[in-house]
Symmetry: C2
């Protein structure tokens, strides 16, 4: 592919959330393709501008692996939305948007999360489904609108689904995700889905080259919970032992981040994707939220949550309720 | 149909916006049907509860005509959302929801307006398309998920489209609305779409039984324009002659409303949907806004605005600017 310089106002930037994960980057590439194909067809929702994928920051090693495997460049970085036209993938919350999102025009959203606080002055396309991955929603949009899925795009969507659903182990996984993944694997020519999933997921398990801050913030999101600022990070590992030695160092860094950022609490999910559970590291002014939310008390710095793998489904909702009570 | 008493917590109420129009009522019935059909099929988004259509208040005469024509009862009234499970059609703004919407669980939204301020704690189905009618979006959801459209449901969706788009004359009409309406007309067995549209729209044209106040307020909205309180009503008529005799009476009532409500101006759009223009009745402390906004001076009590049919798109924006200048 060739990098092309676009005039800011002549394109729609398709962009995923902050701290980009594989789904948010691959979905930006896939949805940009889909929007451009729709422009060539009759009887569909059409944008009047060419769509270009973008990314908020650097892709993580897993995402880099996926992009390289299927022959895509890293999208161009977008960190200021002022005056730009955007389509959003994989989020609908202002807190996860590029800065000056209120000075941007938003023309489309495709997502699979809770409905966020982004509003628009005009009607737009907004398709959010309660499934495991934005890639799943996009695959359905291809089917529904009759646009052909190339082998490479199928690879991106499949990798996104395996990444987001932790190879179908996350509580967010639906039958639709599995069905769609099988169809995508056929198009992408991938025979062993689980093996490919482990290939993808193992790329983030090597944290040896990362600082404590990098480990915490690699997949970190801010939330407003009952008027309190709460940060929740997650790191998924093939084996928790890969990170055991660095827990103290990470905890000290979480303390620092809490002070610097004025957080009521910082939570880091150390998720063991093979054991299917999460060691939740906690530093908060309201330690009682842990028992309210999860029915288990903190043991020192952390608590083991059996079966918990999804921040979105299993950690954010109970913590949200708990912080609203304290 | 037989009315069944449902236990509040065991159903999903599918409900449209306040001051229900034909689209918001018919779409509630149609989407409830669709959600229930999805429950029987594999590989789709499924709710764990039976869906039941509901309405916020009384249906207008147009909506009553449509429901009767296709053999549907008026849905049950829902005015308090507390503790209930809801699916929303035709709006996504809290200001148009039943009271206590913050104490309800929202599980799905289908709409065609700007994205409103409703947020959710969990992922849900939210499908909003920039088309002329929620009925159009629902028809696409039937096609996309392979659910059969009965003759009666096709009639409801077609009537909604003709109502919302003013028989394809409104500025909000898209090619998709027209294409979908033609497909629905075939299923519903309606040969002359325009004739059916006039049948539907004429039901709101009979104002003989209404008081002047009822005519003004049937579709009336308050706006803050440059710090001034401005009220704009609209009534769509097949023929302006239907209301000619009552102009003086209506104008006196507008004067009263202006004094009572402390308005800087009250505007009533008498829209002739066949001639495609609006006779704008005006009582205001700033008569010069009319020329600033529309390039034409008031002639006595009113001014004819050729081609103007949409309050949202063609009247509010220029009046807003004009009031900011005076
Ligand atoms: Mn995702
Ligand atoms: Mn509508």
């Amino acid at each position: 592919m060739i990098l092309i310089a676009y005039m800011t106002h002549h394109v729609v930037y398709v962009v995923g959330h902050m701290n980009p994960d594989t789904d948010s980057v691959c979905s930006a590439i896939v949805f940009a393709h889909l929007l451009n194909e729709w422009r060539k067809k009759d009887g569909l929702i059409k944008l009047d501008k060419e769509a270009v994928p973008a990314i908020q920051g650097e892709p993580n090693p897993e995402t880099k692996f996926v992009l390289e495997k299927f022959g895509f460049d890293v999208p161009e970085i977008l960190d200021d939305a002022e005056g730009k036209t955007l389509a959003l993938v994989d989020f609908s919350d202002k807190s996860q948007a590029p800065k000056n999102i209120d000075k941007a025009e938003i023309v489309a959203i495709v997502d699979h999360h809770k409905i966020g606080d982004i509003t628009t002055p005009n009607p737009i396309l907004f398709v959010n489904l309660p499934v495991g991955c934005t890639g799943t929603v996009l695959k359905l949009l291809f089917d529904w609108t009759g646009v052909e899925i190339t082998k490479e795009l199928a690879g991106l969507m499949l990798a996104s689904i395996l990444s987001d659903t932790v190879i179908f182990k996350s509580a967010t996984t639906t039958e639709l995700d599995k069905k769609v993944a099988e169809e995508l694997a056929k198009i992408a020519g991938i025979e062993d889905i689980t093996k490919f999933g482990i290939d993808v997921k193992s790329k983030l398990s090597d944290v040896s080259g990362l600082s404590a801050r990098e480990i915490i913030t690699r997949d970190f999101k801010d939330f407003d919970m009952g008027g309190k600022k709460v940060g929740i990070g997650q790191i998924e590992l093939i084996d928790l032992n890969l990170i055991k030695d660095r827990i103290d160092e990470i905890y000290e860094e979480m303390k620092k981040m809490k002070e610097e950022g004025g957080y009521a609490g910082i939570f880091l999910m150390l998720t063991d994707i093979m054991k299917e559970g999460t060691e939740l590291l906690v530093i908060t002014d309201y330690p009682q939220v842990v028992e309210i939310a999860f029915g288990k008390k903190l043991e020192g710095k952390s608590v083991w949550l059996e079966g918990v793998m999804s921040r979105k489904k299993q950690v954010v909702p109970p913590l949200q309720k708990a912080f609203e009570q304290v």
